[in-house]
């Protein structure tokens, strides 16, 4: 039962790394995942994602690079970003449709069609992939619940710290973050629409986190200078990211 080595790379790696963070996958499993993903597409920033395959049927997409969002809009233009999609994520168009969300690329985004992962293979690899996908689906649920708690009961400062911890955990699982550095290529406006705050207030909150030495942030890169204090700042909710959540990765 080998694990993917850190030096191996390919376009699809974030997806398999991410899946492997939930269920132990063999090298053969990972090769299957990498081969199952096809049809690379590029969506420029600020364009809507298209899920239709050649037959016009919406299919799930795996994000290879770039960030996208699933958002709700109100009549007066207010936006709430419900889901953030980053490399390694799988975007399910039926979920978006059911929940009434629209999806758009926030930065230039490259995707692969992931439908083949969901077609069940009647062998051990298929069983493990299916299990990993179920675990991934549960992780999406956990994030949504956490999002509710964040918006309902955390202050701006706590919310921001908590989101940073979530993104750090996700990027580590996808093999995209080193111990303390994450990529954060979002505008502060996109951040504000995720955190339920105004742009100005997000700006000030980030400055406060910088001033107090919890993070560094510039040019789309964010450094977690003090993870312990970040967890504390997230109202002791952030513990979950380093604790129970990660322990499921063995």
């Amino acid at each position: 039962m080998q694990r993917l080595s850190l030096t191996e790379t390919s376009w699809a790696t974030p997806i398999s790394r991410w899946l492997a963070s939930y269920v132990a996958l063999t090298a053969a499993d990972i090769a299957f995942v990498e081969n199952a993903l096809t049809d690379m597409r590029t969506f420029p920033a600020s364009t809507d994602l298209r899920f239709e395959d050649v037959a016009g049927i919406p299919q799930p997409l795996a994000v290879v690079s770039g960030w996208a969002a699933g958002s709700a809009f109100m009549a007066d233009g207010r936006r709430q970003i419900v889901s953030l999609f980053m490399p390694g994520d799988i975007i399910d168009p039926s979920d978006l449709r059911a929940t009434g969300l629209t999806s758009a690329a926030l930065t230039t985004t490259k995707t692969l069609e992931a439908a083949a992962l969901f077609r069940s293979r009647d062998d051990k690899t298929g069983a493990r992939i299916a299990e990993a996908l179920r675990a991934y689906g549960r992780a999406v649920q956990v994030r949504r619940v956490r999002h509710i708690v964040r918006l309902g009961r955390l202050s701006a400062y706590e919310r921001t710290a908590d989101l940073i911890l979530e993104l750090h955990d996700r990027q580590q699982r996808a093999g995209l973050a080193d111990q303390r550095i994450i990529s954060l290529p979002l505008t502060q406006e996109a951040l504000s629409d995720h955190l339920g705050l105004s742009v100005v207030h997000v700006n000030r909150t980030l400055q406060q986190l910088r001033r107090e030495g919890l993070i560094d942030y510039q040019g789309g890169r964010l450094i977690l200078r003090d993870r312990a204090r970040l967890s504390a700042a997230a109202g002791l909710l952030g513990e979950a990211y380093g604790g129970a959540a990660l322990s499921g990765s063995a």
Copy 2:
């Protein structure tokens, strides 16, 4: 393909009515549902729900009467109610565990064990029940996404109006609400923990809705005096409850 008549009643009726609001069920399907539910339990207000069956294995519960909640707690005592469970709802303990929520009765709550609904029967009835349960699961997802939008981008006034519309829709589906009246046996503190507001502010917001003639509210009963204006007050998000959401009920 008969539908349950309005005069028929039994303890389990809200559950079958609720399922039938998503997928057309025959009288035989409904009889199956009513018979599948067993082991009535009563949880006094403010007690934790217990899901273990006689073998000690957690099983889903169907709410027969009373209201319960799935909540997250912070170290300092802040509470966020993520899910409200009312008659007709099915509570899945594995979902609660996965998302780190605790469940407690808000009022005296009676439940039946619903595990038998999930054991697949290899016939038409089984297929329809399974389809209805999937639709129910999707509805839970839609509610969570809507909760995120509500907390992230709606004002206190809009949030409250939107929640009232959601509860009205749910109770109508379960056959528990007449055209304009819903039951709302929650303390304002529970409401505030769902809406992400302080108790005082919930109180003032409800008064404003009363003063402006959108609702009447006393003794656990809430009357929607003006559904159109409530929808408008919900920031044009409330439309979804009367529109797309209900259209799936045929």
